[in-house]
Amino acid sequence: MSGMSIIPKTIARLLFPFVAFFGAYIVVHGHLSPGGGFPGGVVIASAFLMMAIAYGLSGLKRESALVRAEALETAGGVAIVLLSLLGISLGLNFLQNVLPTGFLGELFSGGILPFLYLGVGLKVTAGILLVLLSMLFAFGGEE
């Protein structure tokens, strides 16, 4: 799949860090404001997709891209499950808060929740990228 002309390429390159950063902001503030892992992950994945559409997929090798996305998704999923099991190792129940809950409304509060959302954000980003990349590669050259 070939890329587009020079205007979309420039704009995509300039906008990519902002969109990715906005997505990361949504993920990190999941326990304070609406959002969390799912929408934040989708925004970051769409930042990558914007780059893929503007520049074309000819620079990506299919095997390595899909393998890397799968590995990231596995890492995200395993992180979520291990964090949930953390409580069991300390004698409490599944998914219990074991990290300090700070003051209400601050960034570093809420126990294990922000870390759970980080895991979810990683998994959703990798998952949606995997789905979209597989679909794009399957068309193999059609726009």
Partner: protein, 512 residues
Amino acid sequence: MIPHSPILAIVLPLLGGFLSPVIGILERKHGWRRATGIFALIVMGVVCVVVGSMVTDVWAGQFIIYELGGWSPPWGINLAVDALGAQMALMIAGLGILVVLYSLSYMRDETGLGQFYALLLIVIAGMMGTVLTGDMFNFYVFLEIMSVGSYALVAFRRTPEGIEGGIKYLFIGSIGTTSILISIAMLYGLVGSLNIADIGAKLTLYSGNVPPALTLAFALFVTGVMVKVAMVPFHTWLPDALTGAPTVVSALLAGPAAVVGIYWVARLPYLPFGMPVGVILVSLGLLSMVVGVLMALVQRDFKRMLAYHVISQKGYMVLGIGLGTFGSVLGAQGGLFHLLNHSTYKCLLFMCAGAVLLQANSQKFDELGGLGKKMPVTAAMFLVGSLAISGIPPMNGFVSKYCIYLSGLELGQGWITAIAVVVSALTLASFLKAFSSVFLGQLPGRLEGVREAPRPMLISMAIMAAVCVAIGLLPAIGFNIVGPAQAAAENSVGYITHVFGENYLAAGGMMP
């Protein structure tokens, strides 16, 4: 009991499912053989041990409640395991490990096995979650996990038949789970809570005059569950999905997925709604029994015939549970016992069909024949399975069907028993036709080089056949499992009391 075993039984397959793609990548890079399959087998082995320890405790009389995150109900999600859930969890774990063992040799020539075992383990985790949870929306989420995983598994090999079966299953299954979601939404609007025990307690306030919204919610819920159990007239997805899928997936869908459906059918008349549904269950059960076996008689494809028999046998189970609501304890026990037996012999029959398909490369009756000489062990297993499904002593099918016959007579409705006996006879006829056309008769020239099935498949089949015969000769084993399960299903007051404490029900479901 191993501590935290309810949640471990759900989380361990999930963790295994997340790790499988990585093991698949490593297998491709380093050239190990069957690494993903053996990993899945180890995970399922650990799950079996965990479930076993949990189940022995429940049968000793303990009602296990596990609160997630330490939040007590109704603000938190809790897992509640009573004897009914214990039977279902035991069946899912046992059938799961046998299906994984079978898949070790069935899928030996496939690629992409990392994703296959990931999907398989995640589907098993979803099934475990559905039967062990005590929260309605949690049940919906696990049901969707199980369903979406199986939509993908049916279409896994990307053959035209598989994809056609997969998309049909997707549409009809989605409508079923959507009905369940609308029902849960209406329940939340009416009652304000999502916990099963809590809804049960609060709905007793309505037992006099039932508002129309509650009836609509109940009707939608029953529709959704009937779609998942593939009762007529919602059955159209089952034959296509089971025919087009790889045989491992067919065995998985015909065995453990039926367990989930029948678990909720058994809970329907009691928790969380307390509304009468016996007539619907009896009529749909009878209809499915008859339609299933009549359609099975005219099929020319091996797996499609077996799929129609699945519908017919599930009709027996629903009929038994429906008769149980009219006061016949034997009927409800018969229905649950039939679930126990059906999973063993149906998985056995699908595995035999898969062995034939693998070795002879065909699943149509017209192209097969005379395989009894070349695959004697498979033929013997198929004979055991056929006798079991038709209800011939000394197999286990006879015991459960006899319970259902007796309960029909016990309630004074002899015509139900007559229909059930006729359907059994037709089942026997259909399987005799299948057996003779596949294993007896003349061997076509193409099939001269066919050998017996590989060892892991034979081991799984032999274990299941042994269970069939064992339960048939010693039905007390089955009744020890099913008796407490049936008592627990009807004991909705006991369920609520265990979760919330003594005074909750009396106070109309209000916390002090």
